[in-house]
Symmetry: D2
């Protein structure tokens, strides 16, 4: 007899696996193969890697009858787990035309069948934490699948569209307002109730000075003002590493922006569109977020400031389930757009919380070893699953990364 909790876990497993398949619907076979930069992975690799995760961390150690469908997949679909062994070099993931897309889906089905066995085995409860980790891991790769295929289509002179619902346009949006926060000795971090990644804990106290937070994200119109004021040409606005980056890369606008006929267009998953000035600016690096804040005489929030403000809010927003796959203009009162739309850069370097200990074994490589030269982002994006995000969630990217749905919320000292 399968108990209720196990059934629920099994359902969540199936649902998340189905959603991955759903996200692949618009793709041609050819689209699954391409890798356009080391940071991006082919769709096919995402499909295989998430499957390999369940195989390696759940099936292999817990089902003696289990045998891999192909032992070489371990090499091909390991991402960065040193404890598991050698792997295909990251920049060469796009070299692997085989297994074919169909074979990868067979691999998924094979592992799914074995997972059903495992979950029906009365073992689900004791494997719950790993299973939920695997589910969340797959959700992360769903978002990456979307951001990576966006980059693939951007690198194609034909600018193909993945396909997405029309983003609602706003005639106008409210002016940005400043919301006040008192600060004090406050707790942040995950308290261990329900799932969280190891990097979200332990919950601990921090001392915050009084601060202010912008009521909404910075819009394209506001960012265009920065551009028109010579923002990309004024070294005094930039971190030294940022100035070097924009010089070397020749950046003069957010990623995915192009000028045609005197007007700015940006690439979306629905194809190229004229830039909508009311939408949140998106696909900016930490460097650009920081320079913009500098230009405005403000700053980015710390992750603790963001979290204490977000904690009070329901986890609602423009997530992947909406199907827009693009940030929407702000609406509503008070503190808006904290969840969904775009990941919000914080000024906090990604570092361990006091008392942080990574898990033992290979899954301990999940987060801790990346705590260097990256910045924390908060709140999820229009490509994040709603159930995946929470106020304590810490995403992280290098300061030059732009291919994620990343945007800007301003903060200031009170």
């Amino acid at each position: 007899m399968i108990d209720v909790k196990e059934a629920a876990l099994g359902q969540r497993y199936c649902a998340v696996r189905d959603f991955t398949r759903h996200l692949c619907q618009p793709l041609a076979t050819e689209d699954y193969v391409v890798q356009t930069m080391a940071d991006c992975s082919p769709t096919k690799w995402h499909l295989g890697h998430t499957t390999w995760f369940f195989e390696t961390f759940l099936l292999a150690p817990n089902l003696t009858a289990f045998a891999p469908i192909d032992t070489r997949y371990g090499y091909m679909f390991n991402s960065y787990y040193e404890a598991i062994g050698e792997r295909q070099p990251r920049p060469n993931r796009g070299f692997m035309s085989r297994p074919t897309v169909e074979e990868v889906f067979q691999y998924r089905a094979y592992v799914d069948r074995w997972m059903t066995t495992l979950l029906g085995d009365g073992q689900a409860s004791q494997l719950e934490s790993l299973l939920v980790l695997g589910i969340n891991h797959e959700q992360q790769h769903q978002e990456l699948l979307l951001t990576d295929i966006k980059h693939v289509f951007w690198c194609n002179p034909m600018r193909p569209a993945y396909g997405a619902k029309d983003v609602p346009r706003a005639a106008a949006i409210r002016p940005l307002r400043w919301l006040e926060y008192e600060g004090g000795v406050l707790s942040i971090g995950h308290d261990g109730q329900g799932f969280a990644f190891d990097n979200e804990g332990p919950r601990h106290q921090q001392l915050l000075q009084p601060f202010r937070l912008a009521s909404r994200l910075v819009t394209n119109r506001e960012f265009l003002e920065f551009m028109e004021d010579g923002g990309y040409q004024r070294p005094e606005l930039w971190l030294s590493a940022g100035w070097t980056t924009i010089q070397e890369q020749g950046w003069s606008a957010p990623l995915y922006w192009e000028k045609f006929g005197g007007k700015w267009w940006n690439m979306t998953l629905a194809g190229p569109r004229e830039v909508d000035e009311n939408e949140p600016v998106c696909h900016v690096s930490y460097f650009e977020a920081d320079a913009y804040a500098h230009w405005r005489g403000t700053r980015l929030p710390t992750e603790a400031e963001w979290e204490v403000a977000a904690e009070a809010l329901p986890v609602e927003g423009n997530f992947v389930e909406n199907g827009y796959l693009h940030p929407c203009p702000a609406s509503g009162d008070g503190l808006t757009q904290m969840y969904g739309d775009v990941w919000e850069w914080t000024r906090s370097s990604y570092s361990p919380y006091p008392g942080f200990r990574p898990a033992e074994g290979a899954v301990g490589e999940y987060n801790g070893k990346f705590m260097c030269n990256q910045y924390v982002l908060r709140g999820g994006s229009c490509a994040t699953a709603r159930r995946h995000i929470r106020s304590t969630y810490r995403n992280f990217f290098a300061p030059e990364a732009r291919w994620q749905f990343t945007g800007i919320r301003l903060a200031a000292d009170a």
Copy 2:
């Protein structure tokens, strides 16, 4: 009424286009997309580029009714013709998941239909030279398609097989003999009868000293002796640039060789096989060919020596039509293996013949502009079409290139 010559041209056109399709039979859709290094192109790109050639140089200038199926293909499928305009950067050809394979085949069919119109138009004769150039161009890309997909499969940890007929094994082969040539003031180069690339002419005289040529290609066994004698560790055997290359690249065997369980295996289009000692050594660079010759106390032939010796022979050998797609052991008497099997490195830098003039316009970019830092290879390979090759044919690659079917014939002063 279509005259005989036009019909023959039309048939040749169809035959070569069909053969390209035939070569694609063993491939999965995913295989068409991948690019593993800048020198290689995706299969899909070869299919598109050869089609673009006919579209650009034959249809567009000669058929006013013709309209391109997609104007963006010009950007995507131009290889290096500066006169035609901007193009997709070579190392990024593998970024283009679209057009899909099916769409590329539609593009081919579309151009083929218009070509039928053009060829049926009574224009074939006057366009003959461009048409035959396009046919030969497509044959060149047929060979590249095979060498490039071999590299793709090599870069895949699964080492997939393209599929090829079993290469006949030889119990033993004859010892290498030296054939004597008198030299003198001799003519080389193409005389203008029938098709040749511009770089093969004009026919002109050269003064050759008496020389000797090896009766067959260097075998794997002979090359293993070089390796076992420390060939890859002895700088005195190598050109300075060659020594630097093998150090930087970590070369200690020909490309596609791997050691398993104490034995050498090499990758073939039929998959990995144990190295057959009687086969010609293949996938060696000019540097390795030169070092081997040095070690043997001999040298590589000049292209003129090669040509005057080959001129007397019928164009017969192990070509792509055989379906082995791999060099075969030598058999027969006299001067063997001159055509087919492997391209033979000569010691001749690729430079213009006396009186050489490239054609006017874009097709003039075909050969002349590459006459720098490359070496001439002669004779065709097991991936070359039999009708494509002749004694005057000059192929050329950079001295470090190894992914073509390239091997070694020794020469010596008399």
Copy 3:
């Protein structure tokens, strides 16, 4: 009449300028010219750049009679001040054989004479903050001059010695003990009394959990245990970026270590010496410090932890004035070696304190713009001037930097 304060300032100016000259005594003319990597600068450049600082920020704006000795020096000796204008690219500072060493000393003397005028002018007080900034800036470059020339001598196959006093050897040193700290809401940062760099303020409160600090630095013996335990071969001990770095760079020991005849030697400013196991380990990167701490089951301190512990101690230690130019074995009770010997890596990313604002104008480029992808180091080293350091001092380097005198103090949660 010159007042007392001005006289004191003038004396400090002269003293620091003299000390720079003193540090150059052991050098041959040739030694002044060489640059061995982009991070290092030639001695001559340090001499010119510190002089340019006084010229640009004090003389030019405040003495109308002042004219530069050579207007081209502005281009040659600007380091990174965008507001001042174009400059010699950093990696090419070693290309400038001219001005000669003698001319650079003439430049120094010229600026010193004008500075005497300026300081005698009754203006010293109002320029005090810039003057003291210039003095501290020169002290920073005195340390860099030493670390950079050490690298120059290391890159020389002859391993020349700069010359330094013999470091006292210790028969044995005390075992490492753990000192307990209570934490709480504590203040760190500079309070504005006396000189500090802008990045040291404002003073502010932080909440610290109880923690422990090691009584002394990690020694070479202790670091050798890490090495012998396979520390450099075990990916689980390293940050991901650290593991990549040691693979790419081939690191298997601290910088300046070499093995001869089965024994480890390290390069010092007195030339190569056998590694003394009682000395603090030195010339390790953040990556190595972090991996070592990880291996020991501990961690590095935060900069706040370090500062609250250091605040109570007198600023005493093994500084540049000692003349050892090398870290010494620990001696004494309690918390030792906090100042001098080696800069201590903290786990704190270099970021602005709450309320931090860079100064207006070019000097505002001093610190803030580097607050990205660097880690804070504390306490000064054997190459730091004693008067230069204080408990609030924040040094910062990229996590892979090793050519500074950098070492390891362990911390732990209470």
Copy 4:
């Protein structure tokens, strides 16, 4: 008793060693140390390396009493002789501040004293070939010393002058005329009478078609016409590798040219000067020479064409002994400027003559191993010693090299 020939050899040795010292007169100590690119070496290194040559190939094998002044110099001053052992990496020659310039001159004096012993020993005759090789080797490095220091001064924002005599200006020069040559089966290469480098032989016959040679070098005026006609912007004029090079390097004029106030200046060893339109164009790469010839509808000569034309002329011209260190305007009738002024690019790849065999042992590494991806230059330059050059002399550089005194003579088919 020393015989006449030995005395003469000794005198030549002393004279060449003295002339090296003479060339160093204008240099400051700092100038000896700098290396601005891998192709260039520091003056100090040239001084040491030429000395090491005599030490290694003459003293060490032939004088049992000889002991090196410093055994580490072998590592530091070996250029590329694999047979001799490990050496300082070429790009890092500028890292070696020690030995000091004075110590290097002491090294020279030490070796010179031992050479006097050796030459007085009655051994000079039997060592003649190596001795003369060493003398010629030193002459080659005299030229490199000048071209390399010119690059050092160019990389210095102060553009210092080495110092040279004023180049005579010409009011006007004669128009370029075409001289006719019959061709035929002709001999080129050195016949073994007197010294020559191994690559100049063996003398052998070549078949030459009738050809024409320009009566003088291409001038700056003529090259400016090419520039003004968009020469650097027209891909159809360039070799593919050349076009890539000028794009990547951003070339739009010869090396050492700068535009100030609407006028072209070029850097000379006497400092920057306005470009003199009557002087031969200088510091152009093979790519530029080839593109220029292409633009003019002509071509570069083969090395055989150059040699048969030069053979009849006396070895006279603007050599290093003149002290101009810069090419001069053409004067005189007939075929002028064949010797001296600038090295003339030929269209001949640098390859072995029929029957070429490098010498046994380390000196065999002198020339042969560089016969790949380089082009032959002929005739010497204003920085070449007059006694160093002859009609058979083959210099060689990569097609992108520009820092030598290299220029253009046109040729054409008859």
